[in-house]
Subunit: 114 residues, 6 copies
């Protein structure tokens, strides 16, 4: 398994969405470019991949993006991110994007971490 | 200076927005409630206040919220958040909310950290 | 029952979301701060709580925030807000945020008020 | 001056945006349809036009829509909407869409009503 | 069947949403104004109605507007828009509004065109 | 000049944003990945690059993304997109995202095409 593969991405983000796996067959060129970009975004660097997951969850909650909230939280759990960390990230989303952003995230968080 | 004051908040978030200071005089009750909530959001806990600043910047960029991006980056700098950390947070915003989210944040980042 | 309690909030906003009730046990400090802020927002003042509900519904519809639209409309009904008032608020959301904003609100409105 | 004209609209919404006036010459058909729809939205009905203005301001603030916030507040002032009413509408925007929504609105409010 | 009727609109946009049909009975005046505006938007002009459908899908996906994405894609299919064209429009939504925008659209696209 | 270079991108999108040019020096890896993805998005395919520009402008207007609206319109002009085409795309943005979306786009359109 080479660096930059989809398996490697799975390790980085905790869980690869189904639609992204399908893209490998239906649109290999699009898949390849997204994969390369995805790796760059999620690579450990100044921030760990776990910290980036918390950011992604907070953004998705702020955007009321139900699917992304769910996908990011599922991945975060597999990466060992703690529930308390996500909860505190969601409080920032509350302040920046309103109480419903917090509720979107909190609802999915309770489902995924119970 | 007591815990929970506005000076204390200034230490936590790096910089208190002007409009929030004015609120203390024009609407003390609203000011007090926001202050109490603000402290709860920014208190060090499972995440440090620096990590929360990076989250706030990423959310603000995702929302194309120019004022919030600017205010949060200015505060982050005063709290010692590194430019590389913010940049990596903005990459997550790119993935979750599009290239312009990255550009919004990056432009303000270059201004604040040059 | 004291001013500022959750029961009192229930009277003000028509219906307290489940997740907010749970917060009382799982995170009493967060619950307390939100409660205090919530009371301030919903208190009768220059606008009645009914007028504020209509505003909240229009904002939620504009943001395509399905959960908030539903929660706010359910509360509005309990507070005696008329269907026609909400409908006219949703027309403003149409103008400011597009036809789908109107559809989001209208669909939930018909469900709640039939 | 007939019912449904642009002058009549000016009375209803407090101020007609420049771009909308230009549209009358550059694209009369588009202008006519928008005008007809605009009248329907702003007509006094179950809500007064003043109440609708407050809703419009709150939505625009929630969307971080700087131009619409400004245009709606300018119109509201001409229609005799009180500053306190707009401020309370903006608090609802804070709760539903985050502190920056409040700041967007509050900043323009202070400018327009000083 | 006269120009500007709802049947005529159905031909233009591929499919008229249920709620819009109901509006004809419950609120004929609102229905009439929206219908007139709708016709103006969808009329073939510098762009064909098919090109406009692709734009509408991309906007709806960018806004994470699940209902609008679905409604616009259903209409597009009836108008003979090709799957590849919508897919390329969704890539633009990815770039401008993030990967979840693409996923929102792509998921509905696969459902509607399988 | 090879396929996939930044000069080649300039031809495709009409104008490369300054911040993206700077990225080539400050963050060559990020630059390379975005460039590869950008080429894939903008390549002529089922839709021409001109049609994609119109979509991008409509999305940016729907998001009240002032910088992206400006950047995309500037590029569109260089690619020979007609003003009428962009205007019709903005009407779709009006319907899907509200009158202010139309105003955002129209204002920049008049500036760029006068």
């Amino acid at each position: 398994m080479c660096e930059g593969s989809m398996d490697e991405l799975g390790k980085k983000i905790g869980k690869v969405p189904v639609i992204f796996k399908e893209l490998e067959k239906t649109d290999p060129l699009m898949h390849e470019k997204i994969l390369a970009f995805d790796h760059l975004v999620w690579d450990d660097g100044a921030l760990t991949r776990q910290q980036k997951k918390i950011i992604a969850i907070a953004i998705a909650a702020a955007l009321r993006d139900e699917h992304a909230v769910y996908a990011q939280i599922a991945g975060a759990k597999n990466l060992g991110v703690k529930k308390e960390e996500i909860d505190e990230g969601l409080r920032v989303a509350f302040l920046l994007a309103g109480m419903p952003a917090y509720v979107y995230g909190k609802t999915k968080l309770e489902e995924a971490y119970k």
